[in-house]
Amino acid sequence: MKNKNNIRFVQGNEACVEGAIYAGIDFFAGYPITPSTEIMEHLATRLPQKGGKFIQMEDEIASMGAIIGASLTGNKVMTATSGPGFSLKQEALGYACMAEIPCVIANVQRGGPSTGNPTHVSQGDVNQARWGTHGDHAIIALTASNHQDVFKITVDAFNMAETYRTPVVLLLDEVIGHMREKLVIPEPGEIPVVERLRTSVKKGIDYHPYLPREDGRLPMSDFGAEHRYNVTGLFHDMWGFPNNNPEVVSELLRHLVDKIENNVHEISMHKEYWMDDAEYILISYGSSARSAIHLARNRRSRGVKLGVLELQTLWPFPTEMVKEKCAGAKAVIVVEMNMGQVVTQVKNAVDNPQTVFLANRIDGQLISPTDIKSLLRMIQGKGV
């Protein structure tokens, strides 16, 4: 039996905060921006309560720098922002990729480009999460459509950041961030929490910050504590010192990409609704998945074999899983609030890209079940 103290009625942004607290966040730095501000606001209260540190920085660039530094010194860290702020964070995000520094960046998406449509929903930053920072790299980006899942994927984001020593992007959106619904806070231990892997090398003995163990993981040493070492955004050797030897460069880049792309099966998370016998499949994520599920439940009651595949991991894209789930479907409709970002990935994944369609909305309004239904009827040859 859950006691009532564990039941909240909160915004998605607060569900994200509670997830971060559960995962063991120690430090948050940020700069307020709609529609992500409540994450910052609630952490300003919650972090000091558990002995953590909260700091409002002068801008988003500094916030990103602050969490990277704090992470290196042994803390679990996070920042939160929206489109324009996410753009500003990209350079430092690439640094965190290169220097392999665990951190979580929440981007509560609003309409863009530029300052765009601050108070309205969008899912236009999916590709920015993947390729916003320059150069070849891999990234993890997670998303969710309800508060219980927002909580869960926030914990997952912290866990993956530690496991793979990488920045993890939480791609929420304005609808999820701002709407209120029930959240049941899990008991400690219900969701596993991954702690920082620290080196067993003793003080005074040479520590190689970038020398992987046999399992490929890199134990960390709290910066400024027991070992002296170098951290750089340049290609580097196992001591962390700059090195542009072709072998070092290619080996490091492969490592940065492979540690994530080779673990797609571990990182990939999705949910299925009425998928077993689905002839038509809706693929969606975030708040638009709610409309897809709403429509599918409604159509099922009328005998239409419609299923929903809800993606929770957007990057690395679960190509194999999508290919397998969509095999044999008469049509696949990708429901998203942008000009078609995930639909491109789905077309790449499936055997018959000509059966993949985009149901989108880009006017700042949440796509409705009726919007999707109109397209579905057209595809079924029934007219609207």
Binding site: F9, P35, H120, E181, I293, H294
Partner: protein
């Protein structure tokens, strides 16, 4: 129960959004129903018309917005003019009689109650206008138990303000119960 789709509208500062959160929270936590509250934001912080959507149901709610409310509450003329057309046929329209003059007839039960005036006369503080409105709404519709609202208030409102809120809720309930829907 049948799915209840509500829209609360008024002007910024009337407590429309707060009332919506209290109602949805009461249903979700104290009556074990599914409930979702959302609101539309503009870039401006004051004035203009505010709108908050609430859905309450026994089963899971996915699409969180209300397109056609079966209950519409309007606390200003501007919000009435803007939203009265979206009400579901046969629905309930609740307005404050001081602020709203019902102009065109829509296919819904119209109820105009002197909520603002009653609060000013009996309590003297407009701050609990929204709680009086919640009382009236529950009185008319029986949507949830008044006790559930009180439980939410107890957990969110400073003790010194509790008495005033209780009174506003019961004033609303009295007015609402006299109406038939």
């Amino acid at each position: 129960m049948e799915r209840s789709r509500l829209v609360f509208s008024g002007s910024g500062g009337q407590g429309v959004i707060t009332a919506a959160i209290i109602l949805a929270k009461a249903a979700a936590i104290f009556e074990n129903k599914s409930a979702i509250q959302s609101q539309s934001y503009g870039a401006a912080a004051r004035g203009g018309s505010t709108r908050s959507d609430i859905i309450i149901d026994d089963s899971e709610i996915y699409f969180p917005k209300v397109i056609q409310p079966n209950i519409l509450v309007c606390l200003t003329q501007e919000s009435y003019n803007k939203f009265s057309a979206i009400i579901r046929p046969g629905g309930l329209l609740l307005v404050d009689s001081k602020y709203v003059t019902i102009e065109k007839k829509v296919d819904a039960k119209h109820i105009a109650l002197p909520m603002y005036d009653t609060v000013i006369k009996k309590i003297g503080k407009p701050i609990v206008f929204n709680i009086c409105m919640l009382g009236a709404l529950i009185g008319v519709s029986g949507l949830i138990k008044p006790a559930s609202i009180l439980k939410v208030l107890e957990t969110t409102i400073p003790e010194d303000f509790m008495e005033m809120n209780k009174k506003a809720l019961s004033l609303g309930l009295e007015m609402g119960k006299k109406e038939k829907y």
